[in-house]
Amino acid sequence: MNERLAIATAPVGAIVAEATSLREFFAQQCPALGRELGPVTLEPEAPERVRAFWETFGWTDELEEDGWLSRPEVPASRETVRELLEEMREDDVELQGSFRSATGW
């Protein structure tokens, strides 16, 4: 567990600036993936900084390869979690606790 980071209180503009810089560096280092980065739009109710980050960085489904990251939009994410919970149910595994109570921050 760790403390809250400065990013939680940083201005959205600062996050956009860093996301822009990270995207440029990413495209330099991984040109094939960088070319695939396209626009992504998160739900209006998504946390503002999260939305600013992904809408600036962009998305390609190739980021999902090897379990690297999952699509940031809620519907895609809900579908994935539903599948995973179903797989656990098929394996006779039940959730031991709730997502809310596990959050220690």
């Binding site: 400065a6 990013i7 990251l69 979690v81 394996d91 031991q96 220690g104």
Partner: protein, 557 residues
């Protein structure tokens, strides 16, 4: 936000209460435990992306006795990834994993060249000790530190290690950068990958592991002329295994001077749903694709330091045969033909992104193509073939591919052509393929007992059943099923039982270990509901489900 389907579990954000940067919660898939993972989703994602950026860089796992140097270094993304530092233009400190929030022991050094790394180390202020765990794989051992020390140019810097008698020395030998790790029992040396051979020679040591494969192309196999009826038979096989082949086929034209066997094969097969992934490029298309690939490879320090240490991306082309054609672009290596000279069936070479030289994979393009084509279209319709079985069939296309046999109605065996690479071992070099699972089960059930025990379970959906009850194979097989001990490399496995049979129109393959109370039931995924009903009727409880790949029927089923 992150899924490890084969391992630990998955992670999700908790966005209750509209947090500015949501915390991350992990779910452990085999216990169901829900545990706090990280306080920051954005830091988690940014660290993942930063790590992805550096996959193509050389890295060094080293702990420093203090990290004061990091405070003075540039932090390019202080909010998103506060652990990341640019220490020098081409030397970085990057997080080892996504939960790291500050520079320290959970970070590693990423560097573009050993020269940049040693230059940065030599200029580090203060008294630092280094704790090295391992040097990169291209470092080599020498008999003693004294052997290197004698060649070191003045100005080398020495750092204490953490163990007795251990130290790390950075400097240069005849202007080539070196990092030397002296341990009580051994000494390891790291230099630029392109200089390793030179330095080994200079030190009169030969600790480099033998290089995989050979840089010289193997001569193309001289074989009997291609028979037209074999070309027709191959096309019929592809159409049988992939019904869309003929209805989607369009002609393909290669250059008039393309190798003869290659041209004849493609004149018959054409570009279809079955062959699309293997369609040959023209040499002009190949050149354009290679330019893009090499530009991408050149962006990675680990690649350019071995293939193009001096020049630009063009240096990759200098390593290629005079006349060649890209066959298959890959993330870390590419397959290509060597069509230099009067060759009617070129060998297939492999160029690896981070590891020269170019090596030979197959003697024959035609055999490469047929193996790739048949195994591509049957990727969900296959089973392992056991060479000890004595089961033989009729050769289907002897002038094209001597080890493709018809074993029975719709059932074929194909053995991989000679694998010339020594840096990899094929997982399944001999397989049985078929258009439908029904063909395979019917063929298996018609085999005599002495051959049945050699056949293997097919690729299929599988239920794992806890407590097999009336289907306990160690006692007996279900009514009408044929039970046997499988074979493993010519040996009877008396601790395992398998059984094959049919209930209604559902074929089932059963497997059990005598030391376990779990039963595995494999079947056609389209029969999932029927199999669930059959198991329920026998009071058998499904514990785990192994699904077949989602696009299993892309080429047919």
């Amino acid at each position: 936000m992150n899924v490890d389907r084969d391992g630990i579990g998955f992670a999700v954000t908790n966005e209750d209460g509209d947090p500015a940067d949501p915390p991350v919660v992990a779910v452990i898939s085999d216990t169901g435990a829900v545990v706090p993972e990280h306080s920051s989703y954005l830091n988690f994602c940014a660290n993942k992306l930063v790590r992805k950026c550096f996959l193509g860089w050389h890295t060094l796992r080293v702990d420093f006795s203090n990290y004061a140097f990091a405070a003075a270094a540039e932090a390019p993304w202080p909010l998103l990834s506060p652990a990341t530092r640019r220490l020098a233009p081409d030397v970085w400190l990057v997080p080892n994993y996504e939960l790291v929030v500050e520079p320290g022991r959970d970070c590693r050094i990423a560097y573009a060249s050993v020269k940049e790394l040693t230059r940065w180390l030599m200029e580090l202020p203060g008294d630092l000790a280094l704790d090295l765990a391992v040097l990169p794989w291209d470092a080599f051992q020498v008999e003693s530190f004294a052997r290197v020390e004698a060649l070191l140019e003045p100005g080398a810097r020495s750092f204490p290690g953490t163990g007795p008698g251990e130290r790390i020395v950075v400097g240069a030998v005849e202007e080539r950068p070196v990092l030397v790790w002296q341990l009580p029992a051994r000494c390891e040396v790291l230099t630029e990958p392109s200089q390793t051979e030179w330095l080994c020679e200079r030190l009169r040591a030969s600790a480099e592991p033998p290089e995989a494969g050979s840089s010289a192309a193997a001569p193309s196999t001289v074989r009997e002329p291609v028979r037209d009826e074999d070309l027709v038979a191959l096309d019929e096989l592809v159409a049988e295994l992939c019904p869309h082949h003929r209805v989607t086929r369009r002609p393909i034209e290669l250059e008039p001077d393309a190798p003869e066997r290659m041209r004849r094969l493609w004149a018959v097969l054409g570009h279809s749903h079955a062959t699309a992934k293997l369609r040959p490029l023209t040499r002009a298309e190949s050149r354009a694709a290679l330019e893009q690939i090499f530009a991408d490879w050149y962006a990675e320090p680990r690649s350019r330091s071995v293939w193009a240490p001096e020049g630009g991306p063009e240096a990759y082309f200098a390593a290629l045969p005079e006349r060649c054609r890209l066959l298959r672009p890959g993330r870390d290596e590419i397959d290509l033909t060597d069509e230099t000279g009067a060759v009617d069936d070129p060998p297939v070479l492999v160029m690896r992104k981070r590891r020269p030289p170019i090596i030979t994979e197959r003697r024959s393009y035609v055999e490469w193509l047929i193996w790739e084509l048949v195994t591509t279209v049957t990727r969900s319709r296959w089973a392992r073939y056991d060479g000890h079985s004595g089961i033989r069939g009729e050769r289907l296309v002897p002038s094209l591919y001597p080890t493709l046999e018809r074993l029975g109605e719709g059932v074929y065996r194909i053995r991989m052509p000679e694998h010339l690479r020594t840096d990899s071992i094929p997982a399944y070099p001999d397989v049985v393929v078929y258009p439908t699972l029904g063909h395979y089960f019917r063929w298996v059930l018609a085999l005599p007992d002495e051959q049945l025990r050699f056949v293997n379970a097919p690729e299929a959906m599988t239920f794992e059943v806890r407590l097999p009850g009336a289907w306990d194979l160690t006692e007996a097989a279900p009514d009408g099923f044929r039970r046997f001990h499988p074979m493993d490399n010519g040996r009877v496995r008396e601790d395992f039982w398998e059984a094959v049979g049919q209930i209604g129109d559902v074929y089932l393959w059963l497997f059990m270990s005598a030391r376990s109370d779990e039963l595995f039931v494999s079947f056609d995924p389209r029969k999932e509901d029927e199999v669930r009903a059959i198991l329920a009727a026998h009071n058998l409880r499904i514990k785990h489900v192994d699904r077949i790949r989602e696009d299993y029927d892309e080429y047919g089923w």
